[in-house]
């Protein structure tokens, strides 16, 4: 067999995660989109998006809102007749879109605030997360959210101070090393 030459570097890029090569076998059946609880809000259904990936439409795909509306419910993943790990492909597309600079802070800001806390404290801090994210990205909504926040605080469900783990230094060292090693993923 002649050596395979990639005619679709974008497809290769998307598939470059453990198990990702199954994306090539998509038969465009549409089970994924039909199963998606957020399909209505997406500008392209997952099926459409996979056709676009197979057509090498890198910019259109990475600018799409599809994967940002993925809530990781895994319905598509278990129903896909070709056993494509669709949820993991969606995570992959999120990462590629961030690296390409195609995203809006109000969408990715939540993940970034969350991860920032984990890297600072080793645990997530829900009050800081919710208030920080809302104030920065949805200032008007944060007023409407205040009864919820107050109710949660009075019921003792939100801590007022973050908790730092003992081994935060070794954890940071682990994450730093992982970032160096896993650049392409």
């Amino acid at each position: 067999m002649p050596e395979e030459v990639s005619i679709n570097p974008f497809l290769e890029e998307v598939m470059a995660i453990p198990g990702g090569e199954r994306l090539k076998s998509c038969i465009q059946c549409g089970t994924c989109g039909g199963s998606c609880p957020c399909g209505e809000a997406m500008d392209h259904t997952p099926r459409e998006l996979f056709a676009m990936i197979l057509a090498g439409m890198r910019e259109e795909v990475l600018k799409s809102n599809t994967f940002w509306f993925c809530v990781s419910c895994y319905y598509c993943t278990i129903r896909c007749p070709q056993e494509i790990p669709i949820t993991d492909i969606m995570y992959r597309l999120k990462r590629l879109a961030i690296r390409a600079g195609y995203y809006t802070a109000s969408i990715t800001g939540f993940s970034e605030t969350f991860v920032g806390q984990v890297e600072t404290y080793g645990r997530s801090f829900e009050l800081g997360l919710a208030t920080g994210h809302y104030l920065r990205h949805h200032p008007l909504q944060s007023i409407r959210m205040s009864p919820l926040m107050l109710g949660m605080v009075t019921r003792g469900r939100l801590s007022l101070t973050p908790k730092r783990i003992q081994g935060i230094r070794p954890l940071r060292a682990i994450l730093r090393r992982a970032k160096e090693l896993g650049g392409a993923w």
């Binding site: 209505e40 809000a41 809530v71 419910c73 009864p147 469900r157």
Partner: protein
């Protein structure tokens, strides 16, 4: 005494303390010893995988590596925590290049995790797989008689890794029945609660929550029983927001299955975190304290009136 490593996860420290308290109380009754992982860190929920893959796996692997060598199972009550541990272990076993990279990162913190060493399990799975319904029923002191409940699983409790049916699970129903409750049948039990969508696009999230709550309201249940702090938060804390948004008037208490187990086991509601829910469960407790009188079994009506028309008899089967 069964021993498991215990990973409570960030939600159970505060927001879902009711889940933590009730699970620990119920575990004690069942003879489960929970050994909390020392100095555990956040599992990254669904957020870290969106930003950076290898640190996301390394973050979870640190917790797995911290599990003492004499323990081979870890139990997590939060569905996201449970699935992240399951997924990390499974993918490290499946993809050696991933395992190598994760362990190289862990080495920076003088840790190592051998894939396959620890089996990750959801709290619901432990309760229904390691104990038979009869064993559970043997601990019931105050049956949940008269309570009409809907079991709600959400996503990753059953998908993609559980041995229950990923679309039509039934194990929580069987558990609640063993506790004496009446359980309703409905199809949305494994639909998504919206996950983190309340933070990204509230309109979409509220629609998902509305869809679920309106369906459950029609079933006239006393409470919706969950097995995940994310589901509880979305359906309970945001119920008021959803009512304000759609002009609806839902009032469905959202309780953890461990709280229901605790009630049935005779543990005081205060020890089970009752009162922390945003949508008050006072009516549920009221009904549980004053169960309806036991109904007399209705007299069976004969299937066919003796004086009715004669029915054909199968050939050769004469009446002896």
């Amino acid at each position: 005494m069964r021993r498991y490593a215990y990973y409570p996860g960030c939600s159970l420290e505060r927001n879902a303390a009711a889940y933590d308290d009730s699970f620990r109380a119920v575990a004690q009754v069942l003879g489960i010893e929970l050994v909390e992982i020392d100095d555990w860190n956040c599992c990254g929920a669904t957020e870290y995988f969106s930003l950076d893959l290898l640190p996301a796996y390394a973050l979870v692997a640190r917790n797995l590596a911290l599990i003492p060598p004499d323990l081979s199972q870890v139990v997590a009550p939060c569905s996201a925590c449970y699935y992240n541990m399951y997924k990390t272990d499974k993918n490290m076993a499946l993809y050696p290049e991933l395992a190598r990279a994760v362990n190289e990162a862990l080495a920076a913190g003088h840790l190592h995790y051998e894939p396959g060493r620890v089996r990750s399990r959801h709290a619901l799975e432990v309760v229904v797989e390691d104990f038979t319904p009869e064993e559970i029923a043997a601990h019931v002191q105050n049956p949940l008689r008269g309570l009409r409940l809907a079991a709600y699983y959400g996503c990753v409790t059953v998908r993609p890794a559980s041995r229950d049916d990923p679309e039509y699970p039934t194990r929580m129903e069987r558990l609640l029945e063993a506790l004496g409750a009446t359980v309703v049948d409905y199809t949305l039990r494994a639909n998504c609660c919206g996950g983190h969508m309340t933070q990204l696009d509230a309109e979409t999230a509220y629609q998902m929550i509305y869809y679920l709550l309106s369906n459950v309201t029609r079933l006239e249940v006393d409470a919706l029983v969950v097995a995940c702090p994310m589901c509880q938060l979305n359906l309970d804390a945001y119920q008021g927001q959803v009512n304000a948004h759609f002009g609806s008037s839902f009032h469905i208490p959202i309780l953890y299955f461990t709280q229901m187990m605790g009630l049935a086991f005779g543990i005081a509601p205060e020890r089970l975190g009752f009162g922390q829910e945003m949508v008050s469960a006072e009516q549920v407790l009221e009904k549980w304290r004053n169960p309806p009188p036991e109904e007399e079994p209705a007299e069976r009506r004969p299937r066919r009136e003796k004086a009715g028309l004669p029915m054909p008899e199968p050939l050769g089967v004469g009446r002896g």
